[in-house]
C-alpha cells in the first residue's frame, strides 16, 4: 500500500480495489466488472478455440516461408505460446524478440534453447538504448498513454508493448506472414481477441497515434522508431493463450523439457525483464493500485487463479532500494521516486 493511503476496499469476488479507475463497488461487495463478466456471456473457450483453429487451418502452409510471426520475450508465457504454435498447431513460426536493454542473460539463454529445440527462426532486435531510455523516462513521468492503459499495465510496460506490437506487425508484413501471435493471457488483452482479422489500415491508425505521442514528448525524430502500415491487406491477430486452459504448472511441464529455466533476477512478476519491478512500483505510487491487478482479477473471474493467490501476488511490492541499478541506467535520480501522482 502506498504511504499515506488507507487500505483499499476490495471486491470480495475478484480482488479489484476501489481505487481501480471506472470501478463501482456494489453494496454486496462485488465490483461492476464482475457483474459485467456475468452478464457478458463471452464465447466459451471451446467456441473461441474452434475459431482459432479454423483460422490456423485456413492459412497453414499457404505463405512462402512463415505462417506466423510471434512476439517472443523469452518469458514463460511466450515460450509456451511458441511451443503450442509449433508442436500443437504445426505452424511455421518466426520468433521476434525485442531486447529493451533489461532482458536478463537467463532469458536470452532460454530464447536460444527454446528456439533451437523447436527449430524456429529467430530475430533479436535491439532498439538504440538512448531512444528507449527517453521512452522510459517519459513513461515514468506519466501521461504518455491513454488513461485506460493504466488499468492494463504499468506505463513502462505499455510503452514496451506498443513498440513490440509495432515491430512484430512490421515483420509479418515484410515476410507476408498471415498471423501475428502474442503470448497474452486473460486480462492482458480483450476477451474477444483470441483470433481477430484486422485491416492494416486500422493498425496504421494505431501506429500513427503511437508516433504522435512519442513525437509530442521526444521530438519528431521519435517517429522513425515506429513503422507505418500502408496498404489494404489484413493480418490475423492471435492470442492463443486465451483459449489454452492456461496454468503455470501446465506450461512449465511443456517448456522445461525444451531447456527453459526460470531466471532468478527478474523481480516479483517478470520472467525475462529487470525493468518490470520499477514499472510496478511507479504505477502503484502514481495510481494507487498494482498494475497486475486487472489481469489477475480477470483470471480469478475465469477460475484459472485463486483469489488468495491473486492477493498474495499484488500485496508484494518491489523495494526501491533494489532498483538502484535500473534507476541509474535510465539516467534518473531519486527525485522521481516517489513518482508523481495523477
Amino acid at each position: 500500500m502506498a504511504e499515506g493511503r488507507a487500505a483499499p476496499r476490495r471486491c470480495v469476488r475478484c480482488v479489484l480495489p476501489d481505487t481501480f479507475p471506472g470501478l463501482t463497488m456494489h453494496a454486496d461487495g462485488v465490483c461492476s466488472l464482475c457483474r459485467d463478466f456475468d452478464r457478458a456471456a463471452p464465447d466459451t473457450e471451446a467456441t473461441a478455440l474452434a475459431r482459432l483453429e479454423a483460422a490456423f487451418d485456413q492459412v497453414r502452409g499457404k505463405s512462402a516461408r512463415y505462417d506466423a510471426v510471434v512476439a517472443y520475450s523469452g518469458g514463460k508465457d511466450s515460450s509456451w505460446l511458441l511451443y503450442l504454435l509449433v508442436r500443437r498447431w504445426k505452424l511455421r513460426c518466426l520468433a521476434v524478440t525485442i531486447d529493451n536493454g533489461f532482458v536478463v542473460d537467463q532469458a536470452l539463454t532460454n530464447i536460444r534453447a527454446v528456439t533451437d529445440a523447436l527449430e524456429v527462426d529467430h530475430i533479436l532486435v535491439r532498439p538504440a538504448f538512448g531512444f528507449l531510455r527517453q521512452v522510459y523516462q517519459e513513461s515514468l513521468r506519466g501521461g504518455l498513454h491513454v488513461p485506460a492503459a493504466a488499468t492494463r499495465a504499468s506505463d513502462i510496460c505499455n510503452s514496451c508493448i506498443g513498440l513490440i506490437n509495432n515491430h512484430v506487425v512490421s515483420t509479418a508484413v515484410h515476410h507476408q506472414a498471415p498471423i501475428v501471435a502474442g503470448g497474452y493471457v486473460a486480462g492482458q488483452v480483450p476477451r474477444n481477441s483470441a483470433i481477430l482479422t484486422v485491416p492494416l489500415a486500422a493498425l496504421d491508425a494505431g501506429a500513427r497515434s503511437l508516433q504522435d505521442r512519442l513525437a509530442d514528448r521526444l521530438g519528431d525524430g521519435a517517429r522513425a522508431h515506429v513503422e507505418r502500415f500502408p496498404g489494404a491487406a489484413s493480418v490475423m491477430i492471435a492470442n492463443p493463450l486465451l483459449v489454452s486452459s492456461y496454468s503455470e504448472e501446465r506450461l512449465l511441464a511443456d517448456i522445461e523439457p525444451l531447456g527453459w529455466r526460470r531466471p532468478v533476477d527478474t523481480g516479483l512478476h517478470s520472467s525475462n525483464c529487470r525493468l518490470n519491478d520499477l514499472g510496478i512500483l511507479a504505477h502503484h505510487q502514481r495510481y494507487g493500485f498494482h498494475p497486475y491487478v486487472g489481469e489477475l482479477a480477470e483470471q480469478v473471474r475465469r477460475g484459472s487463479l485463486s483469489r488468495a493467490e491473486a492477493l498474495k501476488r499484488i500485496e508484494a511490492l518491489p523495494d526501491i532500494q533494489e532498483l538502484r541499478e535500473e534507476i541509474a541506467r535510465l539516467g534518473l535520480n531519486q527525485e522521481l521516486a516517489p513518482f508523481p501522482r495523477q
Binding site: P21, G22, S32, R39, A40, A41, P42, H145, V146, P147, A148, A149, T151, R152, N165, V189, P190, R191, N192, S193, L196, T197, V198, P199, A201, A202, L203, A205, G206, S209, R213, S234, I237
Partner: protein
C-alpha cells in the same frame, strides 16, 4: 432506439476509457482516438462491445471507418446494421 443506443454507448465509453464528455469538452462528433482516449487495444474492446451489445457484426471496412471514432458515428453504424440492444 437511437437515443437508447447513444446512452448505452456513452455510458460504456466513459466507464471504459475513463473520461467525462462534459469535463473534457467533447461532443458526439468528437474523434475519441485523436482526443487521446482510445488506442488500438481500445479499438478491439470497442468492436467487441458493439457486436455483443447490439448483436451486429462489424466488417473490415467498419474497423477502418472514421465513424467508429465518434459517438455519433457509432450510433449511426449500429442503426444502419439494424442493431438491437441485447439484454443477455
Amino acid at each position: 432506439m437511437s437515443n437508447a443506443a447513444r446512452d448505452v454507448i456513452v455510458e460504456y465509453l466513459q466507464a471504459t476509457f475513463l473520461f467525462d464528455l462534459r469535463q473534457e469538452r467533447l461532443d458526439d462528433r468528437s474523434n475519441l482516438f485523436e482526443a487521446g482516449f482510445v488506442d488500438s487495444y481500445g479499438l478491439v474492446e470497442l468492436v467487441g462491445f458493439l457486436e455483443r451489445t447490439f448483436s451486429i457484426r462489424l466488417t473490415d471496412s467498419d474497423l477502418t471507418s472514421p465513424r467508429l471514432a465518434s459517438i455519433d458515428g457509432m450510433v449511426r453504424m449500429v442503426a444502419e446494421k439494424g442493431g438491437a440492444i441485447s439484454h443477455g
